[in-house]
C-alpha cells in the first residue's frame, strides 16, 4: 500500500481547499452582488472546469504551464524550476479544476442573504469590504464549510488533470488515485482495494457532513 500517495493526495486537497476558499469567497461575493460588463462570460469561464473533460482541461493547463507557456515561463523566471511535473504544478491545476466547486456553493449562500442586511450595513457606515467581512461572511459559514468540503473531496479524487500536468512522480506528484490505477495495472489488488477503501470511507464521511450541514442550513441555523 502506497501511504506516500495517500499523504500527497491529502496534502494537495488541503492546500487546494485553503487557497480556494480564501480566493473564492470575495470572488463569489462579487459575482453575487455586482453587475459588470461581461459578467456572464466570466461566470461561464469560471464554471468551465465543471463540463470540460479532465484530459482536455489537463492538456490546456499543460500547454499554459509548460516551459513555453505564459504561466510556466513566468514560474521558471521567478523560481528557476519547472512548473509541470512538480507538486506546485498539480496544486495550480487543482485550483483551476476545483474552482467551480468552491464558487457555486458560496454564491448560492451569498445570494440567499437578505439584501436589506447589506443596505442596513451601508446605512450604518460600513464599506463594501467591511460589509463582506462583518455581515456576509458570518452569515454564510454553512455555505463556506460546504464549499470547503466539496473542494477537498473533489481534489482527493482527481486523476486526469493531475496525470496530465504532474505525471506520476513518486513522492512528488503521484496521488492516491494514480497509485490505485497503477496498483490495478500491476495486479496488486489488495493495495488498490485498501487505498480505495480509505478514500471511500473518507468521501462517505464528508458527504454525510455535507448533508448534515445542508439540512441545518435549510433549517436556518446558518442562513
Amino acid at each position: 500500500m502506497d501511504w506516500t500517495a495517500l499523504f500527497i493526495s491529502g496534502k494537495l486537497a488541503l492546500i487546494t481547499t485553503l487557497i480556494l476558499v480564501t480566493v473564492s469567497a470575495p470572488l463569489a461575493y462579487i459575482l453575487s452582488f455586482s453587475r459588470f460588463t461581461g459578467k456572464s462570460l466570466f461566470e461561464a469561464l469560471v464554471n468551465l472546469p465543471l463540463v470540460l473533460p479532465p484530459t482536455v482541461l489537463g492538456f490546456y493547463l499543460l500547454v499554459v504551464m509548460g516551459p513555453k507557456g505564459y504561466v510556466g515561463s513566468l514560474w521558471e523566471w521567478v523560481t528557476h524550476e519547472r512548473l509541470v511535473f512538480s507538486f506546485e504544478g498539480i496544486v495550480i491545476a487543482s485550483l483551476v479544476y476545483s474552482l467551480p466547486f468552491a464558487i457555486l456553493p458560496m454564491k448560492a449562500t451569498f445570494s440567499k442573504i437578505d439584501k436589506r442586511l447589506l443596505e442596513s450595513a451601508y446605512v450604518l457606515g460600513l464599506s463594501s469590504s467591511s460589509t463582506f467581512f462583518r455581515v456576509v461572511l458570518p452569515n454564510s459559514i454553512g455555505g463556506i464549510i460546504i464549499s470547503a468540503i466539496l473542494v477537498f473531496v473533489h481534489t482527493l479524487g482527481e486523476f486526469g488533470v493531475v496525470l496530465m500536468v504532474g505525471g506520476s512522480i513518486p513522492g512528488e506528484t503521484k496521488v492516491a488515485s494514480i497509485a490505485i490505477y497503477e496498483a490495478v495495472e500491476a495486479l496488486r489488488y489488495s493495495d488498490a482495494g485498501m487505498m480505495s477503501l480509505i478514500i471511500l470511507i473518507l468521501c462517505y464521511i464528508v458527504l454525510i457532513s455535507v448533508n448534515l450541514l445542508t439540512g441545518k442550513q435549510s433549517d436556518g441555523a446558518y442562513s
Binding site: R116, E119, Y122, V123, L124, L126, S127, P138, N139
Partner: protein, 238 residues
C-alpha cells in the same frame, strides 16, 4: 439646520417629484397609499436609490446634485434608516447589534435601558418579539448619532398596543434628538400624532386633495363603526 430635498425620479408607472424641507427637531410624515413612492423618496435620501434629477443637502453639505454629478455614498451621509421589517444582523445578539456601528459603545447600555430592552441584551434577534426587534433597530440607528433619521413604516407590522407605545416613545425622544426625522406611514392617526408636517403623496407627487378625502373616509368609517363617535355627532348637532 435643515434637510432640503428636491428630487425627480422616473418610475415604471409614474414620475416621482418631491420637494420639501425638514428642520432639525422636526418630524415630517410622508403618507399615502401603497405604491405611492414614499419608500422610494427616503431610499433616494439614503442614497440606496439614485435620483434622476435634483438636489439633496443637509447643513449646507450637498448629498446629491445631479447637475454637478454629486452623489455622496450612503456610508458618508451618516443617517439612520429603520426599515419596515427590522433588519437586525442575525448573527449578533441584541447588544452587539446596537454596538455594531455605535459612535460610543458606552452609550449602548443607556439606549437599551431607554428603550426597555436591556434585559434582552444577550438574546439573538430571532428569539425576541417584533416590537422588541423594532426597538432594537431604532437603538441601532440612534447609536450611530445620525444627522438625519429615516423611518420606513417602522410600526406597521406591530400590534396596536406596541405600536402606540413606540409612537409615544418616538415622540418623546424627537426633541432630544434634534435632527430631521422623515417618517413614512400609511396610518393617518400615526401621521397626526407624530407629524410636525404631513406630506400626502399619491403617484409620486404631493396630493393634498387625497389627504382631505382620506381624512373624510376615516372619519366616516369611525362614525359608522364607533358608537361613541355617533353619539358625539348627534349631541353636537341637536
Amino acid at each position: 439646520m435643515a434637510l432640503i430635498v428636491d428630487i425627480k425620479k422616473r418610475l415604471p408607472d409614474f414620475d416621482l417629484e418631491m420637494a420639501f424641507t425638514c428642520e432639525d427637531g422636526e418630524l415630517n410624515v410622508l403618507i399615502g397609499p401603497s405604491g405611492a413612492g414614499k419608500t422610494t423618496i427616503i431610499r433616494i435620501i439614503a442614497g440606496l436609490v439614485e435620483a434622476d434629477e435634483g438636489h439633496i443637502s443637509y447643513n449646507d453639505k450637498t448629498w446629491v446634485d445631479t447637475d454637478q454629478g454629486i452623489s455622496l455614498p450612503t456610508q458618508k451621509r451618516r443617517l439612520g434608516f429603520v426599515f419596515q421589517d427590522y433588519t437586525l444582523f442575525p448573527h449578533l445578539n441584541v447588544y452587539k447589534n446596537i454596538a455594531f456601528a455605535s459612535v460610543d459603545e458606552s452609550e449602548v447600555e443607556g439606549l437599551l435601558k431607554l428603550f426597555e430592552i436591556w434585559h434582552l441584551r444577550d438574546s439573538m434577534p430571532h428569539k425576541i418579539s417584533g416590537g422588541e426587534r423594532q426597538r432594537c433597530a431604532i437603538c441601532q440607528n440612534l447609536a450611530r448619532h445620525p444627522q438625519v433619521l429615516l423611518l420606513d413604516e417602522p410600526f406597521s407590522a406591530l400590534d396596536v398596543a406596541i405600536r402606540r407605545k413606540l409612537r409615544e416613545g418616538l415622540k418623546h425622544i424627537k426633541k432630544d434628538l434634534d435632527i430631521p426625522i422623515i417618517h413614512v406611514t400609511h396610518d393617518l392617526s400615526e401621521a397626526l400624532f407624530l407629524g410636525d408636517a404631513i406630506l400626502p403623496i399619491v403617484r409620486g407627487k404631493v396630493a393634498g386633495e387625497w389627504l382631505r378625502k382620506h381624512v373624510e373616509e376615516v372619519l366616516e368609517d369611525e362614525i359608522r363603526t364607533n358608537k361613541t363617535a355617533r353619539e358625539f355627532i348627534r349631541s353636537s348637532t341637536t
